[in-house]
Symmetry: C2
Subunit: 402 residues, 2 copies
């Protein structure tokens, strides 16, 4: 979504803007670098590099650091990214909470903030809560830091181009003009995307996906969705529906899904699905401690019971892991990513969920490499979506697209 369409391909402005982004990204990835190093690495001319670096220094995106080794003449001044000036806010709007981070341009988290959403939350209440989290983070921002922008990861269907939350199913809200409202209030860059896509981008920059050319992040929580990164580009599909694998059909006549259909992946492996499957089996499991638990159960209740040794809870997670495995096989045989990352609340049960899933992949993968697809748990964990939201801004800054 960061394709620069306003400046025509081949125009001077477009070229300059692309070169600037290239220089900045080269410094980000390989600092400390001298101007000569940058010219060599980017194949831009030394005067072009000199001018761009001058601009980037003035805007405090980069800074001069120590003196580097001489390759004959005067010792060169080295450059690195300046992580002290520009900062970004990332928000993760889930169905119960808004979590926020204040990060440097390197993705380092300086501060966090969090606010619960009121129950039966309205659009205005959602926005006010998001403002509160943003304001808490802005209070923590140093006076000599500059806010580069606000990234927002929102569950449900998002119109990325328009910056609108089209439908947030777990809140029952439609058409929230998030970007417009934030831009009016904060007068800064605002980018919004679906939570799974933001997480996928965050993982591909700062988490498990750093070295992968293609990866799929599966966010398993109240809902199930995926963010797909191919050739290091986040995928949206024709209508931003790409990655809605919660509604991949696992079994035509399976359990009822929140979408009204039967047998969707989400109806097998989401937190509420795991809770409801466990609850439906309590009558046959007299010894399960879940029988005395307050109803309706949550996914966390089932996981806690599993940790305490409950056989029913274990069996429910193993079954969910197998269904997840089928979804993984389908993703591998469709997209063949080099890496699959599991994130979201339910992935915290990865120790019990992952082995049966990997077993299915090993059994059903079409080739040896397909069988051996790397499948890991998110390392960004509960910050994955908010750091992912920051990464939306960073991608647009550092990787202007050709």
């Amino acid at each position: 979504m960061s394709t620069n369409t306003t400046k025509p391909l081949g125009s001077f402005e477009r070229m300059k803007s692309m070169n600037r982004s290239t220089v900045l990204n080269t410094i980000r990835l390989h600092a400390p670098l001298s101007r000569a190093d940058i010219a060599k690495s980017t194949q831009l001319t030394p005067p072009t590099v000199g001018n761009l670096v001058k601009e980037l220094l003035a805007e405090r995106f980069v800074r001069e650091t120590n003196i580097g080794p001489s390759s004959g003449g005067r010792k060169p001044t080295m450059l690195e990214l300046d992580p002290t000036y520009h900062c970004c806010i990332g928000l993760d709007i889930s169905s119960t909470t808004i979590k926020g981070v204040l990060c440097t341009l390197l993705g380092d988290c300086l501060h966090t903030a969090k606010q619960p959403l009121p129950s039966n939350c309205t659009t205005e209440e959602l926005l006010q809560t998001a403002y509160t989290v943003t304001d808490l983070l802005l209070e923590k921002k140093q006076v000599d830091q500059k806010l580069h922008g606000i990234g927002i990861a929102m569950h449900g269907l998002v119109d990325v181009e328009q910056g609108i939350s089209l439908f947030a199913p777990n809140l029952g809200l439609h058409n929230i003009q998030i970007r417009e409202r934030f831009q009016i209030r904060y007068d800064t860059n605002v980018m919004i995307d679906n939570d799974a896509r933001a997480m996928a981008l965050g993982e591909s920059w700062f988490g498990q996906g750093k070295t992968a050319d293609s990866s799929v992040l599966i966010n398993i929580g109240r809902g199930v969705g995926a963010g797909i990164v191919l050739q290091q580009r986040l995928q949206y599909g024709a209508d931003d529906v790409s990655g809605e694998i919660g509604h991949m059909v696992i079994s035509e006549d399976g359990p009822l899904c929140s979408c009204g259909q039967r047998g969707c992946l989400q109806a097998y492996i989401s937190g509420p699905a795991i809770a409801s499957i466990a609850e439906s089996q309590l009558d046959d499991n007299a010894s399960s401690p879940l029988r005395s638990q307050k109803k309706p159960l949550t996914g966390l209740d089932v996981y806690t019971a599993y940790q305490k040794g409950d056989a029913l809870a274990e069996a429910v997670f193993v079954q969910a892991g197998k269904r997840l495995g089928i979804a993984l096989v389908n993703i591998i045989h469709t997209l063949n990513p080099s890496l699959i990352i599991l994130g979201g609340g339910v992935s915290l049960a990865g120790n019990i969920l992952l082995p049966p899933a990997i077993d299915i992949v090993k059994r059903r993968g079409l080739t040896q490499k397909a069988k051996e697809t790397t499948i890991v748990l998110s390392t960004l964990k509960e910050k994955a979506a908010s750091i992912g939201a920051v990464t939306l801004l960073l991608e647009s800054l550092f990787q202007e697209r050709f």
Copy 2:
């Protein structure tokens, strides 16, 4: 796969090569054009365009045509692609036959040739048959035409980089060094890809996919595979396994698939699967004309029976259409392509297969746009793979990647 990795990004050679490809593609898409039109459209300088056009004229990729309208000064000479000189051969290696086409640079088919493969065909027999088809086409080539290259679409797993057929399941052959052998014999450009991917590329250039930014072609024949085009680029995945949707799991405990697993899409909708499902139901269908048919049945037998009004045959196709619909839903909710194209032998039964499939998509699509995903039948039909094979060469010629 046509990414130019030998010339470093930003180098003069790389830039020239990219510019040349851009000029050639601009002429292909918008001819007749004057040199000034090309400069305007590509934003290259007039001298750069002049030099590149001079080269392309000398190599007879383009030709001068009529005189265009004057915009003040001398009337300009217009340019267009020269379809009379360079030509390409495309081969489609299936499990029973090798089909070939001789095409112009515009994808127009000049000649066709075809040879059956011997039964229990060896690697050498396969190559000799492919040579025979190629030689038949070369005989038909005009003496003043130049062969630009040979593209090969091969069923099964293909190592595109190395030009090797890793595994052709329907022939039971492994590790055929197709590109090397063809290069030795014909001393020309040789490109090889999986049949479904070649078909997808062919459709995106010359068939149903021409105006789509993203499309998925599903090849349903003896096997089932897909070619995925996203942002007009063919997708390969990490290990060329992308598009192996024949082994998408539709039902964990479904019928046995040729891969040894159960419930793969291929075990429901491939030609042999349709035949075998029909055959298994003959005992309960006393009136079906398929009972008196020679066994084992083929997919074509079942289709012929359906055309003659057999209710069993119709029911089998409707069931297959529903399974196909589930696969389409899974593809839409993963990739969200703007277009899905059905090709391959079984797609000739599209009139009976497609309505139940589309019905499932309309019922299960997550959004209105997902429900309305355009799903069509290939218009290149039995030439889809061979024209697709030609398109592998054309993509590399006209669309050198940035």
